[in-house]
Amino acid sequence: MSNYVLRRLVLIPATLLVASLVLFWLLFSQPGNAAILRVGSLGSCDECVKNLEQRLGLDDPFLVQYAHWLGHAVQGDFGQSLQNGQDIRPRIRRALLPTVELAILTTLLSAVIGSAVGIISAVRPNSVVDYFLRFVSILGLSIPQFWLATLIVVLPQVWWGWTPLRRDYVDVTDNPMENLRLMIWPALALAAGSSAYVARIVRSSMLEALSSDYVRTARAKGLRERIVVLRHVFRPSLITAFTVIGLQFGFILGGSVIMESIFGIPGLGQLLLSGVIFQDYPVVLAVTMVFGAGFLLISLFVDVMYAYLDPRLRRQA
């Protein structure tokens, strides 16, 4: 097992290396660059663009630029933003916390809501409640996150003159309660979709377990229905649900980009978006790499936990 984890850990930097090369090449071959954009706002002049390009190192050959970038990136230094010359590293460090917080909050919410809905559906399959919950699930999967979030922002304003939006973002380390009061809304909007996935998987794997021999045995020996459902049916399906939640993590990270932009959360998504709009490719590259690294680490964690949670796999390890 530790061997397997070690191999996966080694593979992560290798994957990121290749991915960064491809992305760097993609971004490098774009038509406009940040120098033109920056000069453009001051009034155009070819001389200024040339000068600025030289200063920012934009006229070097591709591999030189990449090697330069990589040499610093492995030390955690992603260079300076082309927009304003600021160091990218501290900006990423600041933006990391809100995004991670949103992702964790969303994951918790979708795990709790998803499992609850899945259990209720599976205990009485094809009942009115089951059909209703399944329909709500499909609805949750179909409503665009950003529309749901928009409605969450504006409808209370129309009805009660109150909105979850706030003027300034409060960091969780400064004031956890104030922070949670804002973060819970984007987390709920994101969880609507992912908890629907979880609910579906929990439902179908519980239905499978319900018709298995060991459940019949459990009932035959006179266990109460509640114990049968929670201990013999729900627990094994929890493992499946766990993997789904893990796989949903990428989806949640992606969705956080949209949520951050709607709720004004200064996270990685906001940083990425500003990088894309200003064609600030060091920023785009850096944030994309952080997202990729985060996702790889999470999937490794999920796989390890999966092996640990499943008694059959645990014995092999």
Binding site: V18, L23, P144, F146, T150, T288
Partner: protein
């Protein structure tokens, strides 16, 4: 169904029975999957609206009008925006963008993914390793993050938007279909084809492909709503379609939120159209999966 198409080369005349079979299959689909059939109706209506948008529209969707923020009524069925653009016309034209990009991107990713999957799954070994590692590279990024990065590189416009969406859906399709190809290549009919000297492309496309067709359709119907949502998300963030162009996603950003209290219709109609479309495709996808993929059918009936 899959066994029929595998036998297809041996059966000689079947022109009439085949059309008849199609009709009876359709009737059975409506009977067993009423939600799926309803979804088809909704999709057809939205599709017709998109195709015939130039005939059905009231005013030019990008033209500024004199009626600013007019409520829904006789002149403007869905009201107007802050620039006096007609929301009804914009919803019609927005459907064109959503459906076109969604369908094109999914077609590219399913066809591309299938070709990759056939190559990887049939040749196995080193080829398989290379193709799948490349797919993994794409899969490590959250879809919208990658699409944002790609759109930085390719610039704006419908073409690059389509490419960005197609790139993020191809690897997932390739991975799932490869699993099916691996299963199929272990079957006796593939060995038989190899023995009689059929070339690898022939085996891949004439023998294996028909058997994975149902899976391809299921994958496509699952990817389509996701692709439409990705396009809408990118346009919503302001990096999708060009400024002012009608798109459901773009029309839900900016003004629609700022003016919601005074003019709810700017946000409600495009949002409802988008949700309804995605809902319909999700329902259709579920029914198609039930009908076409026998492996998944069991868990639902029980």
């Amino acid at each position: 169904m899959s066994s029929d198409s595998a036998l297809g080369e041996l059966v000689i005349a079947e022109a009439r029975p085949r059309t008849w079979r199609g009709v009876s299959w359709l009737l059975r689909f409506i009977r067993t999957q009423p939600l799926g059939a309803a979804a088809v109706v909704v999709i057809v209506v939205i599709g017709l609206g998109a195709i015939f948008a130039p005939l059905l529209r009231t005013t030019d969707p990008v033209e500024f009008g004199r009626d600013v923020l007019a409520a829904p009524g006789g002149d403007h069925w869905f009201g107007t925006t802050r620039q006096g653009r007609d929301v009804y016309s914009r919803v019609l034209y927005g459907g064109r963008v959503s459906l076109l990009i969604g369908i094109e991107a999914v077609a590219i990713s399913i066809l591309g993914g299938t070709v990759l999957a056939l190559i990887a799954g049939y040749f196995k070994g080193v080829v398989d390793g290379i193709v799948m590692r490349i797919a993994d590279l794409v899969l490590i990024f959250p879809g919208i993050v990658l699409a944002l990065a790609i759109s930085t590189a390719f610039g704006r416009g419908l073409g690059s938007l389509t490419v960005a969406v197609a790139i993020i859906f191809t690897p997932a399709a390739a991975r799932v279909i490869r699993g099916a190809v691996l299963q199929e290549s272990a079957m006796a009919y593939v060995a038989a084809a190899q023995v009689i000297g059929a070339s690898p492309p022939r085996i891949m496309f004439r023998h294996i492909l028909p058997n994975i067709l149902p899976l391809m359709i299921v994958m496509a119907s699952a990817a389509l709503p996701a692709a439409i949502l990705t396009e809408a998300g990118l346009s919503f963030l302001g990096v999708g379609v060009a400024v002012g162009e009608p798109s459901w996603g773009a029309d839900l950003s900016g003004d629609s939120r700022q003016y919601f209290v005074q003019a709810w219709w700017i946000a409600v109609f495009p949002g409802a159209a988008l949700s309804l479309t995605v809902l319909a495709f999700n329902l259709l996808g579920d029914s198609l999966r039930d009908v076409l993929d026998p492996r998944l059918r069991g868990s639902k009936l029980r």
